[in-house]
C-alpha cells in the first residue's frame, strides 16, 4: 500500500516535473546503505540544492549489519544504488567483483579520476581482476590525541613535539602509560587493545598476501602486534589484578567511553582523523584541553570507507554522478574542515588550506600537516576476504588477556584455532 502511494506520488511528481524541467532531469531517488558517519548532512543538502530532481535516501545500520545486509542482498534486485564499504570489509567484497559495477566502465570512467587519489587507498577498492568497485571516501591516518591538562598534572611534557618524543616506539608508549598510571592512579589510554590494529597497520602485510593467500599464522607482524597489545592490556596493573593495563576496561563507542572522555578518566586516545570528530561530539566540554601528537612509529592508518555501486542498482548513472561529486576535491576539503575526516585526494596534501589547518578544540594543533605526514608513510597492505572475522577474533583474544582469563600465549593459540574454525583454514 505504502509503496503504491509512493509510486503514485512519484508518478505525479514525474508528471509535474516533466512540464517544468527538461526531459533529461527525470526525478531519481538514490538509495544508500551506510553506517557510522560516512555521509555528512551538510554536503547532502548542498547536493540536493544543486540537483533538485535527486532525492537521497540513506539507510544507516550498525557497521557489521550494514555489510551483512548488503552481502545477503547482492544476489537479488533489492540492492541500494550506493553501498558504503568499510576497509575491514572491502577485502571481502572486492573479491566478489561480479556483484558490483566496474567503475572503469562507467561514464566518465573511474580511470579519469584515479590519479587524484592516494595510491594505496585507491587500490584497496580494486578487485584482483583489476575492476574498480569502490572509490575511497577518506583515510584514517593515525595520531595520538592527548589531554594537556592531565599530562601536566602527571608531570609529563605538554608540548606536542616533546610528547611525540616520549614514544618513538610502542614499547615506549606503553612505558609512558605505566608511568602515568603510577603517578596518577588513573588509566592512560581509553582502550589499550586499540594498540593492536594501530601497530599491525604499520606493517607491509596483515593476514593476506597480495596473491590472496592467508598468512595470519606465519606473518611476524601479526604476532608481534598481538604481543604488543597483550603487553599494553596487562602492563601497570597492581599485582594479581586485571584492571585493563594502561587502559580502562571500557570499550570504544560504548556509553561509558563518552563519559570517560568527558570526565578525563583517561588522557590519551589513538586517533585516526575520523576519531577527532567523535571526541568533539562526545566531550564538548573538554574543548581546548586536547592536543594531537605523532603516533609511535610516526605513521599509520585505522579505518576508512569506500563507495560502491552494486551491479543491480536501479540508478547507476545517478549514483556515479553523486559519488564523483561527493568525493571530488572541493567536497573532501569541506568534509575535512567540518568533520575531520581526512581526504583521499593526494593533491590536497600540499594544499595550504589542509596543511595550514588548525583546530582550536585541539589547542590549535596543525591537524592537517600531522595527518598528511601520517598517511604518506603507510604501505599498500593487501586486504582479504575474511579480514573482519580475523580482526574480531584477535580483538576478543586480547580482551581475554586483559581480563586475566588467559595468558597471552594461550589467547594467541585459541585465536588461531577459532579463526581456523570460522574461516576453514
Amino acid at each position: 500500500m505504502k509503496r503504491r502511494i509512493a509510486l503514485l506520488i512519484s508518478l505525479m511528481v514525474a508528471l509535474g516535473a516533466g512540464v517544468a524541467a527538461p526531459a533529461n532531469a527525470a526525478p531519481v531517488t538514490l538509495t544508500v546503505w551506510s553506517y557510522g558517519n560516512v555521509f555528512q548532512t551538510k554536503l547532502l543538502n548542498a547536493y540536493k540544492a544543486a540537483n533538485p530532481t535527486v532525492t537521497i535516501k540513506i539507510k544507516k545500520s550498525d557497521m557489521d549489519s550494514n555489510h551483512q545486509n548488503l552481502r545477503n542482498a547482492l544476489r537479488t534486485t533489492s540492492v541500494p544504488d550506493i553501498a558504503a564499504l568499510e576497509v575491514s570489509y572491502i577485502g571481502e567484497f572486492r573479491n566478489y567483483d561480479a556483484y558490483f559495477k566496474d567503475l572503469n566502465t562507467m561514464t566518465p570512467s573511474a580511470s579519469t579520476i584515479k590519479n587524484d587519489f592516494l595510491g594505496w587507498r585507491w587500490s584497496q577498492g580494486v578487485s584482483p581482476a583489476g575492476k574498480v568497485i569502490g572509490i575511497p571516501t577518506d583515510v584514517g591516518g593515525l595520531a595520538v590525541a592527548y589531554r594537556r591538562d592531565l599530562f601536566a598534572a602527571a608531570g609529563l611534557p605538554t608540548n606536542r613535539t616533546d610528547v611525540a618524543k616520549l614514544w618513538p616506539t610502542w614499547s615506549q608508549f606503553i612505558q609512558t602509560g605505566v608511568n602515568y598510571k603510577k603517578n596518577t592512579g588513573k588509566a592512560f589510554i581509553d582502550t589499550a587493545g586499540t594498540v593492536f590494529a594501530a601497530a599491525l597497520n604499520q606493517g607491509t602485510q596483515r593476514y593476506y598476501t597480495s596473491g590472496g593467500s592467508l598468512v595470519y599464522r606465519t606473518n611476524g607482524s601479526v604476532s608481534s602486534a598481538f604481543n604488543t597489545a597483550a603487553q599494553a592490556v596487562t602492563s601497570g596493573n597492581a599485582p594479581g589484578k586485571y584492571e585493563g593495563g594502561i587502559g580502562t576496561k571500557t570499550g570504544q563507542f560504548s556509553s561509558g567511553w563518552g563519559t570517560g572522555l568527558q570526565r578525563g578518566t583517561f588522557a590519551v586516545v589513538l586517533a585516526p582523523a575520523w576519531m577527532l570528530d567523535y571526541i568533539k561530539q562526545q566531550a564538548p566540554r573538554t574543548s581546548g584541553k586536547w592536543d594531537v601528537a605523532k603516533a609511535p612509529g610516526s605513521y599509520g592508518n585505522i579505518g576508512g570507507s569506500q563507495l560502491a555501486i552494486p551491479k543491480n542498482a536501479k540508478n547507476p548513472q545517478a549514483a556515479w554522478d553523486f559519488i564523483r561529486w561527493y568525493l571530488a576535491p572541493a567536497q573532501q576539503l569541506t568534509v575535512f574542515k567540518s568533520y575531520g575526516q581526512f581526504p583521499t585526494i593526494e593533491s590536497l596534501y600540499d594544499n595550504s588550506s589542509v596543511t595550514g589547518y588548525k583546530d582550536s578544540f585541539f589547542n590549535n594543533a596543525p591537524i592537517g600537516s600531522i595527518y598528511v605526514a601520517s598517511v604518506t608513510g603507510v604501505h599498500n597492505i593487501p586486504t582479504g576476504k575474511k579480514d573482519r572475522i580475523i580482526d574480531t577474533t584477535f580483538g576478543q583474544a586480547i580482551s581475554r588477556v586483559m581480563l586475566g582469563k588467559q595468558s597471552s600465549s594461550a589467547a594467541w593459540t585459541q585465536a588461531l584455532t577459532d579463526i581456523k574454525k570460522s574461516i576453514g583454514q
Binding site: Q68, R71, Y99, S255, G256, T392, S399, L403
Partner: protein
Amino acid sequence: MSAQAVPSKSRIKFKSSNAPIDKKPRKKIAPMRRQDRWGMLFVSPFFIVFLAFGLIPILFTTYVAFFNWDALGGAPEYIGFANFKELWSDTYFWQALRNTFSIWFISTVPQMTLALGIATLLANPNLRAKVFWRTVLLVPNITSVLAVAIVFQQLFGYDFGMINLAITWLGYHHIDWVGNQLASHIAIATMINWRWFGYNSLIFLASMQAIPRELYESASLDGANRWQQFRYVTIPQLRNTIIFMMIMGTIGGLQVFAEPMLYGGGMTGGDSRQFSTLTLYLFEQAFFNQRYGYGAVIGIAMTVIIIAISVLNYLIGRRIATDGTK
C-alpha cells in the same frame, strides 16, 4: 451488479463438480458444502502464511544443512552429514546451550515469582486506579529492545554504571558485568525480566479473576488466612496458567537473541562466549562467518531441543493436571 454474478457462477460450478462424485460411491470424502468452502477461504491466510514463512523455510533449511553454502561464493558444495558431525563435537555449541539454559533459568524463576506476586496485589478488589497499574505494567513490554539494551548497558557499565557505583559506595569492588560469565547472565536475565514480568502479571491476573469468589469465602470461613488462601486456593487454581506460562517461557527463553546481541559483546556473546546463546551462535555462524549450512544445522538442533522440551513440559503438565482433579 457484478457482485451478484459471481455467486451464481460459482453455484453452477459447484453443481457440476458434485455430479461425478455421486457416480463413484467408493470415494468416501463427503462433498464440500458451500459454507465449508467459505470456511476454507477464511482459514487459508494462516496456511498460506505458514507455508511461505514456516514450512518452506524449514524444508529449505534442512536442505541447506547438507551444504557448504556461502552467500556470494560459487555453487554450494554438498558435504553430506559433515555439518551435523561438526556440531556434535563443537564445544562452542554446547557452551551456547548451557548459557541459554542458565539465562533461561535466571530469568524464568524470578520472573514468574514476581509476576505472581504483582498479580496478587492487582487482584485486590480494594485497589485504586486499576487500569493505570495494568497499563504501567505493559509499558516495558512495548518498549523497543534496543532502547532497553542501551539503558541497561548504562546501568551495568563497568566504570560509570549505576549499579557499580552503588556497589562501590557499599564498599565492594566493581563487578565486570560483561566479562564475568555469571554476572553477564544475571544482567541479561534482568533485561528479560524487566521486559516480561508485567505481561506475565497480567496473564496471571486474568486467570486469578476467573477463580470463583466462593472458594475464597469458604476458605476464610474455614479460618484460612491470606497466605493460606493464596497457597491452597489461588496456586492450585492457576495450575494450567502456570504450565502454559512455563511452556511459553521455555520456548521464548531458548530463542533469546536480541538482549545478548545488544549487550555489548558482539556476535560471539563476549570475548570468551560467556553469553553466547543458541540463536546468537546460529546468527554468528550463518551471517558473520557466512557458514549458512552450519547455521542451518544449529537451527535444526534448536528445533529438536525445543520439541523435546515441549513434550516434556506437556507430560509434566498432564500429570499435574490429573493430580489436580483428584
